[in-house]
């Protein structure tokens, strides 16, 4: 099968290959919806430790959902801050987290700045899970490479070790980030 495809691409119909791949890729990205962002993010490693979760125990399925949605939130935030668009923030963020991210994007646009977060690693610890399961608090030990750009010029690039306090609440079909607050230490 693979060989036949290669044969086609090297034939006189080779010009069809690129558009076909492009079409398939576009179709895949369109169909996969938000998972595109999550999977193409530079949010590399995510780990979660729920042994300290309480007073409610965190079930495995919920844990996976939180990991998936937190990864998606970071991927969306990364896109928003790199391309200065608020669109990716719709969905994974709400309340204060969404408000200040939108402000950040707007002020970056005004100042002609952008930021890139690459090679992200997140180690999450669940420190509180509400009795009724309607709120979870995480501590995120994150590290990433942050680039600051003025226009197209990279003016700063550094490896950052950051700590975040995260509040997430369940919405209709996912967990959303309500608070994302960097702190100097836990």
């Amino acid at each position: 099968m693979k060989r036949r495809d290669e044969g086609t691409c090297t034939s006189i119909y080779a010009f069809l290959c690129v558009p076909r791949v492009a079409i398939l890729l576009t179709l895949f990205l369109t169909l996969s919806g938000h998972s595109y962002s999550a999977n193409t993010t530079t949010a590399g490693q995510l780990e979660i430790d729920a042994t300290k979760a309480g007073p409610r125990a965190l079930e495995a399925l919920t844990e996976r959902g939180i990991l998936r949605d937190y990864r998606f939130a970071w991927a969306s935030m990364t896109q928003a801050l790199e391309f200065n668009t608020s669109d990716p923030l719709e969905g994974p963020f709400t309340d204060e987290a969404k408000a200040w991210l939108q402000e950040t994007v707007a002020s970056q646009q005004k100042a002609g700045l952008s930021q890139r977060y690459v090679n992200q690693n997140h180690k999450l610890v669940v420190v509180f899970y509400a009795p009724e399961g309607d709120l979870i608090e995480l501590q995120d030990n994150a590290d990433f490479q942050r680039q600051v750009l003025d226009g197209r010029n990279t003016i700063q690039e550094e490896h950052v070790v950051a700590r975040y306090i995260v509040l997430m609440t369940p919405s209709a079909d996912r967990w959303v980030v309500r608070q994302l607050q960097a702190v100097p230490h836990f």
Binding site: P55, D95, E96, A99, W100, L101, E103, T104, S107, Q108, K110, A111, G112, L113, Q115, V127, F128, A130, P131, E132, D134, L135, E137, Q139, R146, V148, D150, I155, Q156, E158, A162, I165, L167, Q179, Q181, A182, V183, P184
Partner: protein
């Protein structure tokens, strides 16, 4: 970074002196330690000439030209959001500094209480979570003591002090014994937030029925249905009447209306009639065959 190209050894001394002079004018930046949200801050710079100053933080991005050696004032409105701020000073090369802004004093409480409706005398049936936020909606992470009180009418059913940890505090409580509105209050200093929980009667208790033969059969009804604490069981609660006789067994479901459930059973022979609601079974009535 300034560079000096020294072609000849004879110029070395001159180059060194030039480099030292340049270094003395090289820009540097000194950022504040941790500040409080909503408070202005000052960033000091060293060096001479002009430079570009950048500030990136939650909700803020600045890109301005500054004069080196002067202080840069960051207005309070740029430091409303708790988190990490990156200050950059660029003149040829860039110098950076990072500082944090933490939440200010608590200004509001977010209070989540479950459930909104609860049976009376249910153990640990009510739970609540309290989060403290400052006036800019930053989560206050410093430990705070919050007083939680459950009251019905003028009676206090539960009162406890809980302490926030990582910004959150929680409690569980047993519901009261009387049906009606239960006020759940979380307070911290002058801050107070109230939620209402409707306490409803629990399962029926001591279900008793009475009945009489009529022309059409047997009319059966309960006495006013109460829970074990004496609260009237809500209208709509189903009572199931069961009649057992020579013709077999038949059941009728009847909702409680104004505290009483009624049913009409068509039977002419001897019948044993019983009633049940939920897990509670009432008394039995025996009727002889109709003459």
């Amino acid at each position: 970074m300034n560079r000096f190209k020294c072609a000849h050894l004879g110029w070395l001394a001159t180059c060194l002196i030039g480099a030292m002079v340049a270094a003395s004018y090289a820009q540097d930046i000194r950022v504040p330690n941790i500040g409080l949200a909503g408070e202005s801050a000052t960033i000091s710079t060293t060096g001479g000439g002009r430079a570009r100053f950048y500030l990136l933080g939650p909700g803020v991005s600045r890109n301005t030209e500054v004069r080196l050696g002067e202080e840069i004032s960051i207005p309070a409105e740029d430091l409303r959001v708790a988190g990490e701020y990156l200050a950059l000073l660029c003149s040829g090369s860039c110098r950076s500094g990072t500082f944090y802004v933490s939440a200010a004093q608590p200004a509001s409480l977010t209070f989540l209480v479950h459930p909104s409706r609860v049976p009376v005398a249910a153990s640990d049936a009510i739970s609540g979570v309290v989060l403290a936020f400052d006036q800019f909606r930053n989560l206050v992470l410093a430990p705070e003591t919050i007083n939680v009180q459950l009251s019905a009418g003028n009676a206090t059913l539960f009162s406890r002090s809980i302490r926030t940890q990582n910004g959150a505090a929680w409690f569980r409580a047993t519901s009261g014994k009387l049906a009606g509105a239960l006020q759940v209050t979380a307070s911290m200093g002058e801050l107070s937030t109230r939620r209402a929980v409707q306490e409803a009667a629990s399962d029926p208790c001591n279900l008793r029925i009475k009945g009489e033969r009529t022309g059409a059969g047997i009319t059966i009804e309960t006495e006013p249905v109460h829970d074990c604490a004496g609260n009237a069981v809500p209208d709509g609660t189903i009572v199931t009447f069961t009649a057992s006789g020579p013709g077999g067994k038949s059941t009728v479901d009847a909702p409680i209306k104004q505290g009483i459930a009624r049913a009409q059973i068509e039977a002419s022979g001897g019948e044993i009639i019983s009633a049940a609601s939920g897990v509670v079974i009432g008394n039995e009535l025996r009727f002889g065959a109709q003459p």
